[in-house]
Amino acid sequence: MLQTSSLPTTPATLLEITGLTKSFDGVKAVEDVSLQLREGIITTLVGPNGAGKTTLFNLITGHLRPSSGEIRWQGTSIVGCAPWKIARLGVARTFQDLRLFSHMTVFENVLTAMEKSAWFWQSERATGAQRRERARQILDATGLLHKADVRANDLAYAERKFLSLARIMATDARMWLLDEPASGLDPRSYELFVALLRSEVRRGITICIIEHNLEIVVSISDRISFLDQGRLLADGEPEEILSNPHLSSIYFGERNS
């Protein structure tokens, strides 16, 4: 069931979620969510804490198994697939708590993310030298080249955030799921971060991002999906969502309480 429509206004759906529900001991963290992630754009997931955003990511990447519902990657169901298989299909992610390979160097972090196969040889044609060169380019683009030999553990906060991004850049995934990648960044880092995301999207990467900072949401989103208490309340163009008084009362109401 591959989508062939190529209307310029509506990009093809890369990932399609239908009626997705996940309950933990009867509590529904995600309830009947249907969502399409379209190719080549940035979709932002917003919503108060506990809305089920990260759970949704975990369901997509196979780190959690849905209670019911369907997830299709380019038309093929990926429900029940092992996380490493889904990753190899082209879905990469970052974690809110980063989960860097903390005892490895910055360079090794990027290199191992690039090495799809665990063996001594790699299936793709690139040689070891080419992979190392590519890793250096990525570190250069993320401003980490001078820290290449530093252990991930010994990086400053913003640098860790960029390493998390560098690691995902090293994969050849077509879709990135970014879990609050910009939280806590200073304005200068944040500008570099947004510029990086934009250039990756131009390169053809599809991004779904969880973000709390409305300023960032406004500046990067092509589409916004609003979740609350596990349910998808709205899904549409940024102006449409952000101007909806009902949604902002939920969003800010929760934050102020």
Binding site: H63, P83, W84, M104, L111, W119
Partner: protein
């Protein structure tokens, strides 16, 4: 005196192989095994049985011992590694206890408590390693090969995958690493390599019994890795040297009554471990920045 030193050096080489192979899974894959002595024992029994009943060819003994030990480890690793990492310690402990029972009760194969005696010296291309100095050379070469191979593996993409899994299993999965398979293979490699130490041990002593392959031995190997520095190249070697020499040094202390040496040794081990964990938790060769 020379023979005495050569004997100690040979035992150090054998222990170092055990420590290096255990460090491979403990230090790089984050898998803590209390069953390392089982695979040491399997290697030794396979070599001894082959030598007694079939062939004294060292290379054949190595090939068989490594295969049997590796396959047996997969039988442990496949189910045990599917659950979360911490359970492997418990599973390996159970495996160790089970193996000791088999070693001491399966009399027709292992000789029971009495073990296997009169194991003929091993040969390579018809040359028998009878001279202790020659055997020391053999053990040293084996150790060098194991260290070299392990080091190459750690620095390859396989090694990076292992370290990634150690640092964050969920992130490794998210980057396409087949965690269960990689862990199983690392245990397979570690156990197969560990069996080479068993082969050397059986051929060297020409006598083996279950006492060398108990939980005490497994803990000793683990202590070597931790004392020397887990996850470092030189740590397990240093740990093996120190903990092999310790009992020998204690026998030279004139004020210790010979009968008490055993318990003094345990106290020294315990004290050393406690002090080390307080003052140098990364091991003697451990550096804050981490090796690798």
């Amino acid at each position: 005196m020379l023979a005495y030193v050569a004997n100690l050096a040979t035992l150090i080489c054998i222990n170092a192989i055990l420590a290096v192979t255990l460090n491979f899974i403990m230090g790089y894959a984050g898998i803590f095994s209390l069953a390392h002595a089982v695979f040491f024992g399997v290697g030794a029994y396979v070599a001894a049985l082959m030598a007694l009943q079939w062939t004294d060819s060292l290379l054949l003994q190595l090939a068989f011992a490594m295969t049997v030990s590796g396959l047996l480890s997969a039988a442990l690793a496949l189910p045990a590694l599917r659950v979360r990492g911490d359970y492997f310690v418990a599973a390996s402990l159970g495996f160790q206890v089970l193996a000791v029972t088999v070693f001491s009760e399966w009399k027709s194969v292992t000789g029971g408590i009495g073990g296997l005696v009169g194991i003929p010296p091993a040969t390579i291309a018809g040359h028998a390693f009878v001279n202790p100095m020659e055997f020391l050379g053999l053990a040293a070469v084996a150790l060098a090969l194991v260290v070299l191979l392990t080091r190459t593996l750690v620095r390859s993409s396989f090694g990076r995958s292992l370290k990634a899994i150690r640092d964050s299993e969920s992130a490794a999965l998210a980057f396409g690493k087949n965690v269960a398979l990689i862990k199983t293979l690392s245990v397979f490699y570690s156990s197969a390599m560990c069996a080479t130490a068993g082969v050397l041990y059986a051929d060297y002593l020409s006598f083996i019994n279950v006492e060398s392959f108990t939980i005490d031995a497994s803990t000793l190997f683990m202590a070597m890795v931790i004392v020397g520095g887990i996850g470092t190249v030189w740590g397990p070697l240093v740990g093996a040297v120190l903990l092999t020499l310790l009992p020998a040094v204690l026998t030279y202390l004139p004020f210790l009554p010979q009968t008490e040496i055993g318990s003094v040794q345990q106290m020294v081990y315990g004290l050393a471990m406690v002090l080390l964990m307080i003052f140098k938790p990364d091991g003697l060769m451990g550096i804050k920045q981490g090796e690798a």
